[in-house]
Structure formats: C-alpha cells, structure tokens
Symmetry: C2
Subunit: 203 residues, 2 copies
C-alpha cells in the first residue's frame, strides 16, 4: 500500500490517455464479479481493452491492481457522499443512501456488495504480507465515519454505535441478498432499516 493511488505510477512520461484509471476501475469491476483469486490479469486487460503485456507498464504486480481497485472504491464512496451532502437533512441523506443500495439490488443479488465482498476476501490473507486488508478497512471506516456524522447531526450521543449498526445492517442485507440470490431481501430489509431510522429521529 502506502500512497494508494500514486504507488507505482510511471512519472517523467506523458500519461496521455487514462489507461491506468481504466485498468483500475476495470479491476474493481472484475474483482467484484469474479473475486480476486479467480481473476486473471488477462481478464482485467480484456475488460479495460488493454493488451495483456501492457498492464505491467502500469502495475508491476497483481496486488498493485488490487490496491488500485480499493482506491477506486474509495473514490466512488467519496463521490456518493459528496452527492448526499447536498441534501439538507441528515435523515434524508441516510435514507437516500439506503435508496441507492436498493437500486443496486440486482447486482447485489448476483455478486454481493462490491466493496464488502472484496474486503472479506482480502481478510483471508496471511497477516503482514501486504496491508491490503488494512487499506480496505480504511475505506469501510470512512463509510462508517460519514454515517456517524449524520447521526451526530441528528443529535444522537450514541452516534458511533448507531453508525456501526447501520453499516452492519447493510452488509448483512447484502450477504443474504447475494447468498439467497434474491433482490427482494434488499428491498424489504432496506425498508426496515429506513423505518428504524424514523424511530430514532426526534419528533
């Protein structure tokens, strides 16, 4: 890990087209669908429409592509929360977040949570070899922190624990939606989660 997005970037040369970014987001997508271990570099190269041998110009190892994929998820999260921050009420922001998850229910039914399943897979690695699992944990913490901020703005003193509960609920929904291959689980459990939010908000 280290600097995430910047590690391994060839400098002193014209970056020209965003091949590196194309590879990173292709990696994130293919890792989501196939898992890291079942995905070959040639799968990613094909998805990004880049010749196999050329991948190594941008990423020296497969693990660097995993790192880039984590960075890609981090960026996606930032974009989403920036959007949500436009909404005036914290309660509406959280509900809109749930709404977005429900919209992605078909994808979740087939492949699970794009980020949760990646983090789970990385956690099977032996400790200390690489810090990729910790890099993934940082993104998860960023989500929790954003949710916590909303609960704080709602005046909840127990915001930290509520935030963990909230994200926990989502990850659980995603797992069951995926394992049961049933998008309706996301819909019904998402509604329950939204209802729970209403019981917390001060009238």
């Amino acid at each position: 890990m280290t600097d995430s997005k910047l590690a391994g970037k060839p400098d002193g040369a014209k970056p020209k087209s965003g091949k590196r970014e194309r590879l990173a987001s292709a990696a994130a997508q293919v890792f989501h669908q196939q898992g890291v271990e079942r995905t070959t570099l040639s799968d990613i190269a094909a998805a990004a429409d880049v010749p196999l041998g050329n991948v190594y110009y941008y990423f020296k190892t497969k693990d660097q592509l995993v790192e880039a994929a984590i960075g890609s998820h981090q960026e996606s999260l930032r974009v989403v929360t920036d959007q949500l921050d436009q909404l005036p009420a914290p309660l509406d922001r959280l509900k809109a977040l749930i709404g977005g998850w429900i919209e992605q229910r078909e994808t979740a039914a087939r492949y699970g949570c794009p980020f949760g399943t990646l983090a789970t897979e990385l956690d099977k690695r032996e400790d200390g070899l690489d810090g990729l699992d910790r890099a993934a944990a940082a993104v998860m913490r960023a989500l929790i922190a954003w949710v916590e901020e909303q609960f704080t703005q709602l005046g909840r003193a127990d915001a930290p624990e509520l935030a963990v509960s909230f994200v926990t609920a989502y990850q659980g929904m995603a797992v069951l939606t995926n394992v049961l291959r049933d998008p309706e689980v996301m819909t019904s459990q998402g509604r329950r989660l939204a209802d729970w939010l209403d019981t917390l908000a001060p009238a």
Copy 2:
C-alpha cells in the same frame, strides 16, 4: 453436488478410519481461514494428516471437497440447533445462539463467519457450472428456517421477515467484525440484537 454427503464415497470397501470425515472437516476449517481459491489440496491433506495423493481416493476433485465442507457446515448447524432445542423457551434459544456467536468473536475478527464467507466466495462463480452456491444457500436457508420457527413459536405473524432480519444482523456483524478486525463489534452488536429480541417478545 447431488447427494451431498454421499457423493463420491467409495463403497464396497471397508471405510475403516474416518479419513473422509477428517478431510471434510479439515477442508471446512482451512477454507474458512484461507478461502477456497487460495487453499491447495496439499494444505487440506496436511491439516487432515493424510498424504496428498491419498486425498484423491476420497475426493476426485477439489470441488468435491468444497461440497464436503458445505456438508460439514450443515452438520455443525444441525448439532447447534439440536442443542438449542433443548432449551424450553424460544426466546432463550435465540439469545443462546447470539451468545455462541459472541463467544466465537475472536475467530470472526480474524476470518469472518465460517459459513457466510464461504457462501460469499462461492457466489463469485459462474452460474450453472456447479451447484455449489445453491448447496450453500440451502444451508443458509436451513438456519433462517430454524430462526423463523422460534419467532413463530413466539407468536409473531411476521416470523419470516423477522428471521431474515435476524440472520442478516448476524452476517453484517460478522463482516464488520472481520473487516475492522475488532471482536468488540460482535460483542456490542450482539447485545443490541439481543435487546431487540426483548422488544419483540410479548410481555
């Protein structure tokens, strides 16, 4: 898949020692710790203390070991629920189930839910090649069904949805406990889940 436990069993010969079962439960354990894709047959052979070449006498392919591991989880679930069924009150059964999860918090922090992470990994496979993901789903459904039965005995008309919520909560707890590498998440969220049960029970 097909017959789960029986598939590929050599018949017409003396089974003698339970090597097959040793291999199956070793497979379940190693798959949990390393994931299916990162686990080699030699890892499993070593864990079961069986020579590598001999594995193929009991299991023709690696996938058959995955199938056996799923069967092993199924059996573990049966043992646990049989234990819990000894308790007279359904509410106590559910709380005892949560208590068991909390006891396993250290393992969950390091490797996640033994069954949930396996099912999640199998769901990354392409459809139709093997039915292993569906076999895993059946075990998850069995857990949900048992939980649902407890809610039904509690007189809840919405037992099916409550059961899904309950298992969802656990899977989510397990994911965050694992990703954050923090056993305390399981403790605190487990307590929340138990408290939630109390709010449901008729006074």
